[in-house]
Amino acid sequence: MLKTFMRRAGKFAAIAAAGLVMSASVQAAEPIKIGSFLSVTGPASFLGDPELKTLQMYVDKINEDGGVLGRQLELIHYDDVGNASSARNFASRLIRSDQVDIIVGGSTTGATMAAVPLVEQAKVPFISLAGAVVITTPVKEWVFKIPQTDRMAAERILTDMKNRGFTKIGLISGTGGFGASGRKQTLEVAKDMGIEIVADETYSGSDTDMTAQLTNIRNTDGVQAVLNFGFGQGPAIVTRNYAQLGIKLPFYQSHGVASDSFLKLAGDSAEGLRLPASPLLVPNALPDNDPQKSVVQNYKSEYEARWDSKVSTFGGYAYDGLMLAVKAIEAAGSTDHEAVREALENIKGYVGVTGEFNMSPEDHNGLEADSFRILEVQNGDWKLID
């Protein structure tokens, strides 16, 4: 019974598909399907929410302007609630039943990595919006990613420290995924750059006071600067404790807290600290000859006008993901998966919100560490240093 039904359904699907193909070749107006799975709700919603808003807004905008290759874009998106196994299910649905042409999504590293085996097997181009190094190192044929890695953040911070003549530093990091990975990368990069980590402290995500750890760092011989790699409210508490203890050493934070809400939490204590961040935080301070200036300003004003909420770095990842996908499809002249993949791999000099992308078969991220800008907190606001 079930078997006959399945067979009939299969036949029907085949006929329907044939019909679709014919009508597509007749009208040539079949929409290009962009699939996405994002953490729109749940603990990672601060990532997925601006990402989805950005995708929706720019898909609409591109369609109003006539679409891509004369075809409209169709955004098919699912909410993975920050859960890796639902991310995997949705990726599978996007590939098998929605038959999307390209996937732009995966707010978290967990969600992205859960979908990677599926897209590799189905051979669908996939642009991830998540941060960790593992996504594109080693290179996976069909997987690309937008954000800079935490390794680049560590490189950027340590370079700035070295330029200021600091070679012995104290490190305090969160024990969560972000902090732990950041700590590992910092230790590795420091070794390569000849910087010595003389104090290495940690705190857990639920800690409400870090003065004990900071006292240890302060009392370590020869420490010249302090770096805090962490995420959420932890770094804000560290910053406040740092000020309360009256530590005068130069203080660095990671890109994990590069947002206006961090400034609000840390208040006066944040004065003078430095961190690597997207130029999105200081769109007007960029020099006029900076190629990113107009892109960043446009994205910020369009997003804030459309959604009436503050723009975030994460939405910027979605912007770049979508634009890279569109660029690749245009360059390929079709939505043929292999052609789009090749086009993506050969994108050079695309200036986005996040940085300038130069993809290659060996580098599916395409960004350099200096796409991070070093900002300093001055008078309660961000100031562009480098």
Binding site: S45, F46, T175, E201, T202, Y203, S204, G205, S206, T208, D209, T211, A212, Q213, T215, N216, N219, G232, Q233, A236, I237, Q244, L245, G246, S261, K264, L265, G267, D268
Partner: protein
Amino acid sequence: MLSEFLQYLFTGITIGATYALIALGFTLIYNASHVINFAQGEFLMIGGMTTVSLTAMGVPMLLAIILAVLLAGVFGILLQRFAIAPAKQADVVTLIIITIGASIFIRGLAQLVWGKEYHVMPNFSSDEPIRIFGAVLNSQSLWVLGIGAVLVVALVLFFTRTLIGKAILATSMNKEAARLVGIRTQLVLMLAFMVSALLGSIAGVVVAPITFTSYDIGIMLGLKGFVAAAIGGLGSGVGAVVGGLLLGVVEAMTAGYISSDYKDAVAFSMILVVLFFMPRGLFGAKVVERV
């Protein structure tokens, strides 16, 4: 050397006082019903978040705090009326599970109303830390300690001197007998939930300047507070305070002298040791089971 030790001690006392305040709320409901109310952390959150959002709307701080505490009290009553009371004769474990469900519900509600951002609350008094022998102490820590002390004394008096307090104790000891002597046990339970919500929300307001506050602050602080209450012996007010301070100081000393990596491990091993040798906690009541 001394300044280092003092700094770790101050850190420990600050954290510990926070835990102690939260542990007190667990104590009260446990005394009345033998239920461990896992929504206690949510009362904390309601206190902190309501104060923050009211002050943001221009309400003076003191009034905002009072309103926030009252709101939490109302939530305490609602929780008892609509979640605990309908379960009637259900056993304690079922009731505990109900409180977990309620905590998830309240958290979801808070997320809708207030969003997911962390919020700051200013210190009650000066932002300047106090310096003693080279160590610094956040002035808010003194508020936490002071209010904690006042609440403990108030609780002790409440349970030993007032009729309602005695009624709560009687209900916890033997519900049937309490009813027979004319105590309206449902009302007593409702009162216990209300008072514990008041306590929790006061704790939430006092610690918010140190810990920040957000819709999910209750999860982490609630758990630590529960641990402190368990060390001290569930049901004992003094035990809650000693348990909280002990937990905080051990955490800070471990982070300072051993390694911050082992901080939580040492704290949790301590619980195992305490509960192994003193299964009812440091100050737990000696219960004689009649066989």
